[in-house]
Amino acid sequence: MSGRPGRGGAHALSGWHILRPHLGKIKKNIAIVVAAMLVSSLSEAAYPLFTRYAVREFIEKGSVSGMGAYIAACASVITAGGVAVIFWSLHSIVVEMRIGPALKRDCFVRLQMLPVQYYSSNSVGYLLARVMSDTDRISGLIAWGLSHALWSLCYIIGSLAFMFMLNARLALLLAAALPIAAVTVWLFQRKIIAVNRRIRHINSRISGAYNDSITGVKTSKSLVIEQRNSAEFKEITAEMYRQSVRLSTLRAMLIPAVSFLGSLAVGAVLYRGGALRQAGLLEFQVLSALVQYAVGIVEPVMQMSGIITDFVSAQACVERVAALLGEPLTVTDSPQAAAKYGGIFDPKPEGWEPIEGRVTFDHVYFKYPGAAGYALEDFSLDIPAGATVAIVGETGAGKSTVVNLACRFYDPERGRVLIDGRDCRERSQLWLHSSLGYVLQDPHLFSGTVMENIRYGRLGASDEDVVSAARLACADAVALRLEDGYATQVGEGGDMLSTGEKQLMSFARAVLADPPIFILDEATSSVDTETEALIQNAISNILRGRTSIVIAHRLSTISGADMIIVLEGGKIIERGTHSELLEMGGKYSELYNDSIGK
């Protein structure tokens, strides 16, 4: 109706195509679920017919002949229904567990391929919710929601059919009441969903507030803002109270409203049916069966309506997952490179050229998405194989951007980054990354032991190799100081270790990888002064013969570099060796004097 243009074709059911690749494997399960559903719902719907039979054949006639056969018939229908439920459950869970994990895997694979930049604009919590909860909701709805809806639909249709068989006029009466019930439920549920969404939002604010106050307890105490925090928190919980009571009130109204509708139907049957019965047109048993149907049909109507609303709200999940899976890969292997070198999941290392280590930036321009100015502008730098280049500059001068481009986390906007004289983009990312040793200021360790973490650098490495790499990186002493030595669990994100210790571990990890190119981005900034002095010698040994790019605030750590470049505003303003730059008396010597306090 709105006719608003430019919604990009996002119609009511967009995004569901993400399921298509996974449906083939579960065709059989879906068929079994549908069949089981039919058996279960029809056997349930048939039950009042048995009652009717009992009333007519036994109660009214006052005889019990044929009771055995009757019980056997009932029992077999009951058993069929029960067995159908078992099959239904078995195969529904298979459907759920084929779709859900497959979608999770799709997301995970996509996330491995998306550019690093994607992670800067989407928080880990957000991505995690897409991978975990959205996919769960989608698969749960497909497996259980659809089958429950089918069950309810079959039950309603079956019941109506049986009722028509019993008495068409009364059945029509009940059938007329159904839409009223359905619309009532639908109206309520729309409101319930809206309030529910608000409650989920408040709930995440509550968790966030706990997180803030408990992780920040030291800060709150030292600023003496506990009272203020509590007062703000109370506003959130008061709002939670209001919305929760609202939700409960809506729900409390819905259930009695629907059962009331159901009993109106019973009353109607009784009234009309009674009148007919008085006229001698309707038997008792028909009447009792109809009453049973009238009561029994209410529940499935509610369920159907609930599932429809579930689908409406799951639409958002589907769209978000589809958006993630459709997110363009801005940094990607060209088809030629992929063909020659293989992708990240199916590499063809036999076609990889050995790397020498020359890194060249050729008139590179780079701008972060959304940023106004260039982070690097007309940046040219040639690092011969085996040389060490140090990059110096203030925060925001573009040091990390150089690293990001050298690692090909980003592609330049203009200009080229070349490895051994050939454009990065002609090779695969994995080829490049397999030759890089990268150590960050904010080192990331994975939960697991110290040994496992260092081994991440070279997965097949023996324990001895790991230990000798740790020794080279001065991480050996740290590891042995820990409770279980190399078998110590480092905790999630390595949280059991201090930042300095983590830096040494991640340095050892890079050393073990034995790469021809080393990138040290503030790699030892949190290591204490005396250990750093130790490690300094180790570093110069390790870097000998390898190409390396080093970023450090402490100028003492880079004075031995073959070349030092000073960056300011994305441009190189000085280049030369330590002594040349000091002599020059420019920015570098200014920085140097700052650092030694002159």
Binding site: V55, I59, K61, G62, V64, C74, A75, I78, I86, L90, E96, R105, F108, Q112, M113, Y119, L127, L128, M132, S207, G208, Y210, D212, I214, K218, L223, I225, F233, T237, A238, V245, S248, A252, A257, S263, L264, A268, L270, Y271, S288, V295, I344, E394, Q429, L430, H433, S434, D442, H444, S447, S498, S526, T529, E530, Q536, T557, S559, L591, I596, G597
Partner: protein, 596 residues
């Protein structure tokens, strides 16, 4: 222990009582409906004699007697609707009252946890894991909520339902009532047994899901490491392993659940069948009427589902005890004690540590530390990680409490243990190495303690902390949201925002606890220059492992392994040739320079 929880139920009890009473009334009204149907079928339509209770007898005659009812069946139909309306109204009352009671209780519980957690001593926080505390405040509270609002009332309702239904049935026909009664324990125990088994499997699924979750989370947070080492294939293999394990567990659980549901359906259906068959038998021999038969059938079907649910509810309730204990643990731990009559002296005087020793977790952190920071002057404290230098700051602001007999810390000659804790902290502007920012805008973060609402003042302080230009580069400037839902600031930006935040307070004492460690030398120098202006008159303590940060201090204390190793000015210490000089040489790279 539970007393800590019960306090928060005050005033909710009445609502709970009303909720239970209304639930019972709703059930009874619901029970009337099949009776009216049965009565209509038997007495009104069938013309059979039916013994009616005196009250019902009077009601029938008030309505004009049996013959009138026969002519106007609408009265019976209205009767059915009226029963339903009554039952519905009571149900509504029960649910809303319960919701109000529960939500009030939970609101108070959340508030209490929030404010109490903040008042607990820092040592308690250090001993407990953040994730665990947050989980207690969120998921354990949710478990408690579900217990009060769903499980508890469900059990009560089911109990009333079963007792009332059985009572009515036994009063109608003992033989048939016995048939129904026989099935109740069977269904209940069957359901309990399976639920207990299933809950074990559910837990193992939960654990597997937790593992998958942390695998994905670690992969996402470590994305740069994964990329830089080209480990995507390895990561995918790890993911597949956890993902498949989770799917397998669920499929196994699905099998168990399927049997549970399927057999449960059969058992309930068999109970209905038994009632049908025995009812048919009895009715055939004339022991019960057709109307009674229908009433029995209807009660039997009403009870089947709640009784099946009861087993599940009971097994889920077992989790509640654990959650309540975990919540009570937090609330039961004593907060930092109130201090009636504590002093509020001027904090401008000399700060003196006199023979301070301090142990933490059985480990001696400080041994006999003595030094003085002159009021209005700047003191530098140099030390490596683990030298105990941060403990000095925590003791000074009484985040850690110095026990009696471990020396004393005085400000202007007054022992800080006699000074009101909050007054002291308000006077000591402590800036942490890893300061926490809150999920608010940057403006609100800087203004959080000072509460000036004055953007001019905030920007002025941000400029002094050399962070104003960083902030202005964000799209929303000072209105930029910080945290999970906003931007993530770098370590250095956080430190500078924290500096600005403390400068807003113009405290008489300012303590920098390694709070410029993530800044480059130039920014560090810039801030130190502007500090001279912005902290004029205040006593400043700068703790750092970087000499350039504190070399201009009026005096410097060098800490090593919990002791004061050296004191003096920069020049004196350099001349002394001790630790200070060694660190200075390493840091300035004098000698190890270009030819290394």
């Amino acid at each position: 222990m539970r007393a800590h929880l019960l306090v928060h139920m005050r005033g909710c009890w009445r609502r709970f009582a009303v909720a239970v009473a209304a639930a019972g009334a709703s059930l009874l009204a619901g029970f009337l409906m099949p009776q009216v149907v049965g009565f209509t079928v038997d007495a009104v339509l069938g013309g059979a004699d039916r013994a009616l209770p005196a009250a019902a007898e009077r009601l029938v005659s008030a309505l004009g007697g049996m013959s009138r009812l026969r002519e106007h069946l609408i009265i019976c139909a209205v009767g059915v609707a009226a029963c339903a309306a009554l039952s519905g109204a009571f149900n509504y009352i029960s649910r809303t009252q319960l919701a109000r009671g529960t939500e009030r209780f939970i609101e108070r519980l959340r508030d209490a946890l929030f404010s109490h957690a903040q008042l607990l001593p820092l040592e308690w926080h250090m001993r407990n894991q953040t994730g665990d505390i947050i989980q207690r405040c969120t998921s354990d509270v949710e478990t408690a909520r579900r217990f009060v609002s769903e499980q508890f009332i469900e059990v009560v309702r089911t109990a009333i339902l079963v007792v009332a239904a059985l009572a009515i049935m036994f009063s109608m026909n003992t033989a048939m009532a016995s048939v129904v009664a026989a099935f109740i324990p069977i269904i209940l125990f069957y359901s309990l047994f399976f639920s207990a088994r299933v809950s074990r499997e559910f837990r193992s699924c939960d654990e597997a899901e937790g593992e998958l979750m942390s695998t994905v989370q670690e992969n996402l947070t470590g994305v740069r490491v994964v990329r830089a080492f080209g480990r995507e294939r390895h990561e995918l293999a790890r993911f597949d392993e956890k993902n498949d394990a989770l799917a397998d567990k669920w499929i196994k659980l699905g099998g168990t659940l399927g049997v549970f549901w399927g057999v449960g359906d059969i058992v309930s259906a068999v109970s209905v069948l038994a009632v049908t068959a025995s009812g048919a038998y009895l009715a055939a021999s004339g022991d019960i009427t057709l109307g009674d038969f229908l009433v029995f059938l209807s009660y039997c079907m009403t009870m089947a589902w709640p009784v099946r649910q009861l087993g599940r509810t009971l097994s889920e309730m077992s989790k509640t005890g654990v959650s309540l204990r975990r919540i009570a643990d937090i609330l039961g731990h004593p907060a930092e004690p109130e201090e009636p009559g504590a002093l509020r002296p001027s904090l401008g005087g000399d700060i003196a540590f006199n023979g301070v020793s301090f142990a933490y977790d059985g480990l001696t952190v400080l041994r006999d530390v003595s030094f003085t920071a002159r009021g209005g002057a700047t003191l530098g404290i140099l030390g490596a990680t683990g030298s105990g230098k941060s403990t000095l700051a925590y003791l000074l602001s009484r985040l850690y409490e110095l026990p009696d007999g471990c020396g004393e810390i005085t400000i202007g000659g007054v022992d800080i243990r006699k000074i009101d804790r909050h007054y002291l902290r308000r006077g000591v502007g402590l800036i942490l190495q890893e300061p926490a920012l809150f999920s608010k805008t940057i403006f609100e973060n800087i203004d959080i303690a000072a509460c000036t609402g004055d953007i001019g003042a905030v920007r002025e302080r941000a400029r002094q902390a050399a962070v104003d230009s960083d902030i202005m580069e964000f799209a929303d400037g000072y209105d930029t949201l910080v945290g999970e839902r906003g931007v993530t600031l770098s370590g250095g930006q956080k430190q500078r925002v924290a500096i600005a935040r403390t400068l807003m307070l113009s405290t008489p004492i300012v303590v920098f606890d390694d709070s410029m460690s993530s800044l480059d030398m130039t920014t560090d120098a810039l801030i130190r220059n502007s500090l001279r202006e912005s902290t004029r008159g205040a006593t400043v303590i700068i703790i750092s492992h970087r000499i350039s940060t504190l070399m201009k201090a009026d005096s410097i204390v060098v800490m090593e392994a919990g002791r004061v190793a050296e004191t003096g000015t920069h020049e004196q210490l350099l001349a002394g040739g001790g630790i200070y000089r060694r660190v200075y040489e390493i840091q300035s790279a004098a000698g190890s320079g270009a030819n290394a």
